[in-house]
Amino acid sequence: MGLLSKKDANLILDPLADNNPITIQVLGICSALAITAELKASVVMALSVLFVLSMGNVVISLLRNVIPSKIRIIVQLVVVAALVIIVDQVLKAFAYELSKTLSVFVGLIITNCIIMGRFEAFALGNTPGKAFLDGIGNALGYGIILVIVGFFRELLGSGTLFGFKVLGDPVTKTGLYSIGYENNGFMIIPPAALIVVGIIIWVQRSRNRELIEEA
């Protein structure tokens, strides 16, 4: 990271592991449960949040000295909502197919607590450059967990990855299915995501015991 000072680099690296928005701050759980049945949806969601969070963080940071504190939450909401709507409209006009895949995510982005959380906790008190890096870092930290959960849920639940049948065909019984393997239908329903996230939290905390919260 020659381009960035150590402090700036940490803005990106910390949320990837030791200060992960999902597993440590426990934000953004709702979307992590809802849309991770497929790897593709996880990736698309992660990219959408990456864009909205980094841009929104910059906008809020630029406005941080003029936003009246009494209505700052509303201002933050307006910024996210406006960004999301503009992105949605532009996609509908120029990348219609993509916008159809994104449809369900647009609303979910606005309600993602990571976004409001980073605006409130970081962007309101830091310069735009730092806020941008913080946005990238947190969105990547969020995205990593989404992709991990999506990977296991799609692989074990449907036997596919990105829609490709990696374990063989369950109907004609080829590949793994020929020796009696079955897809686990439980993995494609949302509670399975909770369990996968729980396992990630467990693994992460047993590797780094400092992360364990005091009871």
């Binding site: 593709k40 009246p68 409209q89 509908k92 369900v104 609303g107 239908g185």
Partner: protein
Amino acid sequence: MAISTDKNSYTVIFAVVMVVVVGSLLAFVASGLKPKIHENQRFEKQQNILYAMGVNENEGDGDVVFVPTTSVEEEFSKYITEQLVLDGSTAEAKENAYLIDVQKEIVKAKAGEKAELPLLIGEKDGKKFYIIPMSGKGLWDVISGYISLDDKMVVQGVYFDHRGETPGLGANIKQRFFMDDFIGESILNGNSFEGITVAKGNNDPMNNDKEDNAVDALAGATITGNGVTAMIKESLKLYKPYLETIRTN
């Protein structure tokens, strides 16, 4: 900063300026992009209609490939020979009937008001297709689609779409493995209009039985599946008077 951001007057002014700026920005973006968005939506409808009558570029298994947007208008006017709106069992031709908002018309028709229900007639390889637009409720939002029938009331193809069903679960109604199951199913049971049920555990996962008025349901998407069943049934109910007139046995 010299200005005090805590004053009430400042807060009110800030809120007003913010609303005006963001509001006009969004209005500007929306009106600027509107024609392009409408064109995309029109192409999409044409692609979906053609898909339901089997005009698509599907290759191999799994993928849903539409006629490309560059040629869809041409193909649409080539294959779709008649566009009708129905009033009970009578039908009259109407230009661009496919653009009618079916969701609204179905609500009107169900309430017993006068409605314009569009029906498209397509022709491919000398065979006639009756294409019916449908609209209903999924788990989260509207689901919609087209079903194409021949004059024996056997399904020739379907296309389903949704606005917000869960990816990997309900959203799979627009996947090939689900839509292809409908092809060849009859909507008639003996002489009555039965529709097609999205059935759980119907002992026919490979869908070999084409006479059972049922296709295999999607795991984890019960409510979306029930929505599809209800959508087919209720739309066909509205079109039944007309379908009776074209039906041959």
